[in-house]
């Protein structure tokens, strides 16, 4: 379990879901990724990742109340479990360990 690594796109989805907090679902996650990371991903890709994260036990979902706007189609909220947060933390820490002593890669210094 602890050795399971977190993929690049999984990191994006986890981070977005944490940022959104309660009320994260496919559409909002996709929007968050688009707005924050500037990546236009397909909804299908988001949902596939959400499922994979659920399979790994890092996220859970529960049915949410549907709305008129979505023509009363099913809606689920996704939440990042502590195990998910741990996995994400591990992944980010790995990155931090690797970039220590590398001033050009310090946070905030983005060379585009």
């Amino acid at each position: 379990m602890a050795s399971e690594s977190v993929g690049d796109f999984e990191q994006l989805v986890l981070l977005s879901a944490i940022r959104i907090g309660p009320g994260a679902y496919g559409m909002t996650v996709r929007r968050e990724i688009r707005e924050r990371a500037g990546r236009d991903v397909s909804l299908g890709a988001v949902y596939r990742t959400l499922q994979r994260l659920e399979d790994k036990g890092w996220m859970t979902s529960r049915p949410a109340e549907t709305t008129e706007e979505r023509n009363h189609r099913a809606k689920r909220f996704y939440r990042v479990e502590p195990s998910g947060e741990n996995a994400l933390r591990r992944a980010l820490a790995t990155l931090d360990r690797l970039r220590v002593d590398l001033p050009q890669l310090e946070p905030g210094k983005v060379h585009l």
Binding site: Q51, E69, N71, R73
Partner: protein, 914 residues
């Protein structure tokens, strides 16, 4: 985010994105197994429902307000497709793969075509010729016959009711009492009936304005309702206004009359127009689309039937009650949808006794807009034109086949290689097809442009007498579809013809690719070239026959000299003149016309030249030897000066030259002038002048023959009149109309303006009708022949171009393929002319074979044209020989280029080339 409540109020889309889109989404996601765990891996997927819900929500919130419903729907579909697992998206289904291959093929073909611009352009050009000509003819047919009558509701439910009797030629007209029987008798399946009476009348838009002649119809109740014509302003006639008991002075005008004559007056409904001194109030303006019930002329004003005697001045007031006043020629009915015309005809026939049509055979013909005679002429002409373009299309296909074959032999190496690598025949064919699609697309586009140009060139020209000039022929959806089907059909046909050649490319041949060409494909190509020559010769002969026939017609001796003569008619009754006054006017005008500067002679006749009306008289000789029994001759009444003005030739005796024939108080002396045919029948010894004849139907007394004139083609250019007899004006007959002919040395326009001025001074209310030159009138009767000859000639020219292109292509390649042979020949001492003649001989053999076939086909086809030919047979040798000669000349010209090239081959280079 706004609350769902306000969103729903604000957005139009409670039904967004619509059931259909949602259904498509569901199908799409299911088809690509969105929910199938195996397709994605892992446990059952997030429900399809969820995904769709998200898409709808985002589209509604983010896309719909800014971009509208349609774009939002497109966005949803696009995002749904993006969401599909990639691997499934492309290879999941067979049709996706098929589509992918098609796209690849199209791309490849496009690249191949742009690499061979000469082939591509020739193919597109060839295709455009055939398709363009066919589309042009179809557009004309569409315009003249197929397109529904504009401004009329459900035109396919309209029928024309006609009655025929044994004893009379042509359809029987109806009297108003009979028409009323149609209204009263309920015929199952016939929703309503209406009748109308067309009339050319003179209308003043105010008391002081000049009268203008316009086309009007006097209509029975329910006319506009039966046709389903909407009024743009005002109303149609009310039932009371159609009543026969009281005259109602009301009128409905067409939109164009309102625009052109009433200045689009917004208060038009209060205005009135004046007809023969009576004022009619305008109560309605029809919709702009409606142009009347006739395709041939636009109707501008409608009057209710109750006004008939006020609109038509010489109609008795009680005409609507007269059983024998057969004034309505046209009866239009609307049938209940789903009922066939035959059923209605049967029921009408069954009700014939109640309809007072006892003896008659009642028929029903679908559609309105053209008289049957005109319909026949229009379709007759279109049939011939279609035949010609069908040949041209066949020629196009042959040409295209030839082109594709030549292209295939160019792609031989590639094809063989692909075959060896395992490409299936279907795959190879598919490549060819995609090239065909591209070519036909290009060809159709150019063809449509050519059609447009052709219609532009034809615009305003007359093609059939009495039929409106070609104008504003639409390139509508029907034409577009027709053109597309023709273009694609021809290209695919040509491609399929070549599949045989494709199969012959055996993989083993890969080694021999460059070792010269095998004969099988070339044999087919040679056959095709002969076929092309045959086809184009057939078209050329058909055109030649039509042109020669027109020549014969225009060089005929008419028996009169139309050049230098202007003609016009007077109908003094319409200006309110009594018959006696008209008599005086007719008489005095001759003298006054004679005195106009430049006039050589002037006269008039009762029936004008080239007029459709005829009048017959029974004639018998007086010295009754019994040999020449009673015979029928056409009769006409002429004034002094008429024979001279027409330029008719007097064979014996004299004509009515005396001034005394102009004397109104002169007693009837009973003189007549007859034509040669009548003279030869009555008195074969040539001594007719001075003898007598009788017209027993007219009077007991005898008529003295004072002169004999040469036969004329007075009634129709196509045939002499036969026995003809001229009465002097005043021989006991009076006429209400007269057609004047004035021979002069002046310019016709100048002459006509002088004549108009003269008549205006006589009586300002008199209008000069049908003013024209006699030459123009003669030309006018030949308009159909001229149009046919013109179009056929154009088709023939196109056919020759196609044949020449085919021949040129074949010979060019033949020369190319035999470079080495010619090199050897030249090296061995062959002279250039020998090489050239070698090439020419090969081509000419094909041309000869084609010519023979072409002549045989043409002689068969000529029979179809026979009824349209004048003065020549369908196998006119002059036409056949000339056409063949022209074709051979063109063929030699086409071959000359490549042939000359062959003589310039450098032997050393040629021998080294392989």
């Amino acid at each position: 985010m706004t609350s769902p409540e306000t969103d729903r109020d604000k957005l139009p889309g409670k039904a967004f994105p619509g059931q259909f889109i949602e259904w498509v989404l569901l199908r799409l996601l299911n088809r690509f197994e969105w929910g199938n765990p195996e397709a994605i891996g892992g446990r059952p997927a997030a429900s399809t429902d969820e995904l769709i819900g998200d898409l709808i929500e985002e589209a509604r919130v983010e896309v719909l307000p800014n971009h509208g419903r349609t774009l939002a729907q497109v966005w949803i579909l696009k995002e749904a497709i993006r969401s599909l697992p990639h691997r499934r998206r492309v290879r999941g289904r067979r049709w996706v793969g098929w589509l992918e291959r098609q796209v690849a093929d199209l791309r490849y073909s496009l690249r191949a075509l742009t690499k061979h611009p000469r082939f591509t352009l020739t193919a597109i050009f060839t295709l455009a010729i055939g398709t363009g000509a066919t589309t042009t003819v179809f557009s004309l047919a569409n315009w003249a016959l197929l397109r529904p009558l504009p401004g009329v509701e459900s035109p396919d439910e309209l029928i024309k009711v006609r009655a025929f009797s044994e004893t009379r030629e042509g359809a029987l007209p109806f009297s108003y009492p009979i028409v009323r029987k149609f209204f009263e008798e309920e015929i199952a399946g016939l929703e309503s009936v209406t009748a109308y009476l067309p009339a050319a009348i003179e209308v003043q838009t105010s008391e002081i304005s000049a009268p203008a002649q316009i086309q009007a119809q006097i209509v029975t109740p329910g006319f506009f309702k039966t046709l389903g014509v909407q009024m743009q302003r005002g109303r149609a006639f009310s039932p009371e206004e159609a009543d026969q008991d009281a005259v109602h002075y009301v009128a409905v005008v067409s939109h164009s009359y309102w625009r052109d004559h009433l200045d689009t007056d917004p208060d038009v409904l209060g205005r009135s127009i004046t007809v023969s001194g009576s004022r009619f109030q305008v109560v309605g303006v029809t919709q702009p689309e409606f142009e009347g019930t006739e395709r041939t002329s636009e109707t501008q004003i409608w009057f209710p039937v109750s006004a008939v005697s006020k609109v038509l001045s010489r109609v008795p007031p009680n005409i609507l009650r007269m059983d024998q006043a057969f004034i309505f020629a046209d009866l239009i009915g609307r049938i209940v949808p789903g009922v066939s015309g035959d059923e209605v005809a049967g029921r009408l026939q069954a009700s014939a006794p109640e309809l007072d049509l006892l003896e008659a055979r009642v028929t029903v013909s679908p559609g309105v807009g053209l008289s049957p005679g005109l319909q026949e002429r229009v379709s007759g002409m279109l049939v011939v034109l279609s035949g010609l373009v069908a040949l041209l299309l066949l020629l196009t296909m042959a040409n295209l086949t030839n082109l594709v074959l030549s292209r295939l032999s160019g792609r031989r190496a590639e094809t063989v290689l692909r075959k060896a690598l395992g490409a299936s025949p279907g795959r190879l064919l598919s490549g060819l097809m995609s090239e065909a699609y591209l070519l036909s697309a290009g060809g159709v586009v150019v063809a449509l442009f050519a059609t447009w140009l052709a219609l532009q060139a034809l615009d305003g020209s007359q093609w059939i007498q009495w039929f409106p000039a070609i104008e504003g022929v639409p390139v509508d959806r029907r034409v577009l579809i027709f053109s597309l089907l023709t273009g694609v059909g021809v290209t695919l046909g040509a491609t399929f013809m070549t599949t045989g050649a494709l199969q012959r490319f055996a993989p083993a041949g890969v080694l021999r690719v460059t070792a010269g060409r095998s004969g099988s494909g070339r044999l087919m190509r040679k056959g095709l070239v002969s076929f092309q020559v045959a086809l184009s010769l057939s078209i050329l002969i058909a055109a030649g026959l039509l042109v020669r026939s027109l020549d014969q017609l225009s060089e005929l001796d008419l028996g009169f000299v139309p050049e230098g003569v202007v003609a016009f008619s007077l109908s003094p009754g319409t200006a309110g003149m009594q018959a006696a006054q008209a008599d005086i006017l007719f008489r005095e005008l001759i003298v006054e016309l004679d005195e106009l500067p430049g006039v050589a002679s002037a006269g008039f006749s009762w029936l004008g030249p080239l007029e459709l009306r005829q009048f017959f008289e029974e004639v018998t000789p007086t010295d009754g030897t019994g040999e020449a029994e009673m015979l029928t001759a056409q009769a006409n009444m002429i004034s002094p000066g008429f024979v001279e003005a027409m330029g008719m030739r007097v064979i014996a005796g004299r004509t009515f030259t005396d001034e005394e024939y102009l004397d109104s108080v002169r007693p009837d002396r009973g003189d007549v002038v007859i034509n040669r045919t009548l003279a030869e029948i009555l008195y074969p010894n040539g001594d007719a002048v001075g003898r007598e004849l009788r017209m027993p139907n007219r009077t007991e007394s005898a008529f003295k023959i004072i002169g004999v004139v040469e036969d004329t083609r007075f009634g129709s250019v196509r045939e002499p009149t036969g026995a003809y007899l001229f009465d002097p004006f005043g021989n006991g007959y009076r006429t209400s109309t007269a057609t004047y002919v004035v021979r002069s040395t002046e310019d016709p326009e100048v002459m006509l303006s002088r004549i108009r001025e003269l008549i205006r001074t006589r009586n300002p209310e008199l209008t000069v009708l049908g003013a024209t030159t006699l030459s123009a009138q003669v030309q006018g009767t030949l308009v159909e022949e001229r149009m046919m000859a013109r179009l056929a000639s154009i088709f023939a020219a196109l056919a020759m171009i196609l044949a020449a292109v085919g021949l040129y292509g074949l010979i060019s390649e033949a020369v190319q393929a035999r470079v080495r042979e010619f090199g050897v020949r030249t090296a061995l001492g062959a002279q250039p002319y020998q090489v050239i003649s070698l090439i020419l001989r090969e081509g000419l053999v094909l041309v000869m074979i084609g010519s023979v076939i072409g002549m045989v086909t043409a002689s068969q086809m000529g029979r179809l044209l026979e009824s349209r030919l004048f003065g020549i047979g369908a196998t006119d040798p002059v036409t056949f020989v000339t056409a063949a000669g022209v074709l051979c000349a063109v063929a030699v010209l086409a071959m000359l280029g490549p042939a000359l090239r062959s003589s310039k081959i450098d032997p050393a280079g040629a021998l080294r080339s392989d």
